[in-house]
């Protein structure tokens, strides 16, 4: 233990034991010494007792009023601070930044507060204690390092100042714990609609405000789908393109309302590089061939995904890769080539048959060799294999397929393969387990 650490311990012990009762001091304040009490109207020659009495009463009344006002100020809630990790704690704070009440918003938060009585303590001390407890209980670590700080205050300037102060405080605490923390912070005025939503989903108003901002700035995210996400996941989204795809049209950008410090942990996910590689491999494309490449987090169908987009020779690819597993969930290919001549009518007649759900008789001819040569060891086929099976069945070369999409439909146990070729639109359902064609359709 070095000198500094020793002194820090001593300081901390004193800070914790020092009284924190400013109200008791204020209650004792009388007139200040050496000050002229400003009842300065010079006494007139005639000393009349009534006006003096009146003045004295007035002074008393004003004095009483001021005291009452002070009392009210000390006990009036000016800001509401909430700290969200998954446990969420709500702190009501007065103007002197003292905690008037600390409430656990969810189950987990009970454990964090663990009988601590924070009422009357300095906000900073309370926040330090809470973050300490969050760390101790393992809620903030390398896997999920994001903390959301929300300040609800009708005076936004004051709220923002408080928000900045708390963000600084928390980031220092995390830093000293050697946690590479990420903090999202926001300030907003009280809002009944938001309050209602927060109650409906059983989340804090702070989290509700964050989700609302994400929803407002995105074209496809919905409140309901995001309510169940962790703060770390929301942080990843807040800093991704998903949250800014409407920013060009909307004035309320997420950057304006949500401030972000540090980088949200991605340790729970395969990583952008692995996701990109999965997509490129699936497309059979080398990174060196790619003219542009973008990969970012998104949230679709109840899971965190990487959306990977790239172009090769004027052909655009768009992939969704499961962020947790690295599986390709969706593959789209859009070519900018001229339409190939229409396929002969006879072929259309042939393919109409599988559409009427007779896969058992039709499949073996096409499928068996495919699944034998390309089947995975676990007896499941990859989305790439599913794509090839569909193309082979349609008699369409990969290079002739436009707007190619392969999507894994987990619930149905099949890949949905869609593409266009010539003037036809094809839609296939390929079994994940053995590559059988479960359904095939072709439309004009």
């Amino acid at each position: 233990m070095n000198d500094q650490q020793l002194e820090h311990k001593l300081y901390s012990a004193l800070e914790h034991t020092a009284p924190n009762d400013v109200a008791a001091v204020l209650a004792r304040l009388g007139p200040q010494n050496g000050k002229i009490i400003p009842i300065s109207t010079a006494p007139k020659r005639k000393k009349r007792i009534l006006p003096w009495l009146a003045a004295a009463c007035l002074v008393l009344a004003i004095g009483g009023g001021v005291t009452a006002m002070r009392y009210q100020q000390a006990n009036a809630v000016t800001s509401v601070v909430s700290l969200d990790v998954n446990p969420c704690i709500r702190l009501e704070v007065n103007r002197a930044e003292q905690v008037l009440s600390a409430t656990p918003v969810n189950e987990d938060a009970n454990q964090i507060l663990d009988g601590m009585n924070l009422t009357g303590t300095d906000l900073k001390v309370a926040v330090n204690a809470i973050i300490g407890s969050l760390l101790k209980h393992g809620y903030v670590d390398e896997l999920a390092n994001s903390v959301l700080v929300s300040v609800e205050d009708d005076d936004l300037t004051r709220g923002t100042a408080l928000e900045e102060k708390l963000t600084g405080e928390i980031s220092q605490v995390l830093e000293s714990a050697s946690i590479n923390g990420a903090i999202l912070s926001q300030t907003f005025a009280g809002d009944d609609a938001l309050q209602q939503k927060a109650e409906e989903y059983g989340i804090s108003q702070g989290k509700a405000a964050l989700i609302q901002t994400l929803v407002d700035s995105s074209s496809h995210l919905s409140f309901e789908s995001l309510a169940g996400l962790s703060i770390n996941e929301l942080n990843l989204l807040a800093n991704s393109e998903a949250a800014t795809d409407l920013t060009s049209q909307s004035s309320a950008t997420s950057e304006e309302t949500i401030r972000s410090t540090g980088t949200a942990s991605q340790s729970g996910y395969v990583g952008v590089d692995a996701a990109t590689q999965a997509a490129l491999t699936h497309a059979g494309v080398q990174q060196s061939q790619v003219s542009y490449l973008e990969a970012d987090y998104d949230y679709e169908n109840g899971r965190m995904i990487y959306e990977v987009e790239f172009g090769v020779n004027g052909v655009e690819y768009e992939y969704d890769v499961d962020a947790a597993t690295g599986d390709v969930l969706k593959a789209e290919r859009e070519g900018h080539m001229l339409q190939t001549p229409a396929q002969p009518q006879t072929q259309q007649a042939q393919i109409q048959q599988p559409q009427t759900q007779q896969p058992q008789t039709q499949q073996p001819q096409v499928q068996t060799p495919q699944s034998q040569t390309q089947g995975n060891s676990a007896g499941t086929i990859s989305s790439q294999q599913a794509r090839d099976i569909a193309l082979a069945n349609a008699g369409v070369a990969l290079s002739d397929a436009r707007e190619l999409e392969v999507e894994l439909e987990r619930d149905d146990g099949c890949y949905k393969v869609e593409f266009k070729s010539g003037r036809y639109e094809y839609e296939y359902e390929i079994s994940v387990t053995d590559g059988r064609i479960l359904n095939a359709e072709r439309d004009d």
């Binding site: 002194e7 300081y11 901390s12 914790h16 020092a18 009284p19 004792r28 304040l29 002197a96 930044e97």
Partner: protein, 193 residues
């Protein structure tokens, strides 16, 4: 809790910085109770720490802390903005502590503080806090404790500490080193620097 300490001490230095306290004292002079409240918020740890280092008794130190801020209010006009607002506040705290000690001298000595009970109602006080305070209050001489506490709560230079405590600089330096050595030994069980 160890991880939080560094932040807090750094914070203490910042919150008691002259540029923070000076405007608050000026506003207090003007009769603004809110400024006093803010001043309390910034300086209470330093005032309490100094009082405790003199009095070795938490209740007395709490009383002195409260009295100090009432005095600051009453005598705010005496403060001359010279860039040492904390020194002015702590001088009041020291005088009140010395007065308390004199009062106490007339009566019998207090029983030793019971560390198990110290701030038992405060959830913020950790076991380690109690150990540290106990080491500082029972294991150090009065001067050692005053010097090291003042250094911890203000982050001042030794010269400034010598001035406030009315001790020679050389004494402050040697007491400071000795105090830290003793604390380390008490808390770690013998590790030498």
């Amino acid at each position: 809790m160890l991880i939080l300490l560094e932040t807090m001490a750094e914070e203490s230095r910042r919150t008691t910085a002259s540029e923070v306290l000076e405007p608050l004292l000026v506003r207090t002079q003007a009769g603004e109770q809110e400024a006093l409240a803010e001043l309390y918020h910034h300086a209470r740890t330093a005032v309490y720490g100094l009082a405790l280092s003199y009095l070795k008794h938490s209740h007395d130190a709490e009383d002195v802390t409260q009295d100090t801020f009432v005095r600051v209010w009453e005598n705010a006009h005496q403060y001359q903005p010279r860039g040492t607002p904390l020194a002015w506040v702590l001088t009041i705290a020291r005088n009140l502590s010395l007065m308390k000690l004199r009062e106490r001298g007339k009566t019998e000595d207090l029983e030793p503080e019971s560390w198990e009970r110290l701030a038992a109602d405060s959830p913020l006080v950790t076991v380690e806090d109690r150990q540290v305070l106990r080491a500082a209050l029972e294991g150090l001489t009065d001067e050692e404790r005053q010097v090291v506490t003042l250094h911890a709560v203000t982050g001042w230079k030794h010269k400034e500490i010598a001035h406030l405590l009315e001790l020679p600089l050389s004494t402050v330096l040697s007491k400071y080193r000795r105090a830290l050595q003793k604390l380390r030994t008490l808390l770690e069980g013998g590790e030498t620097p």
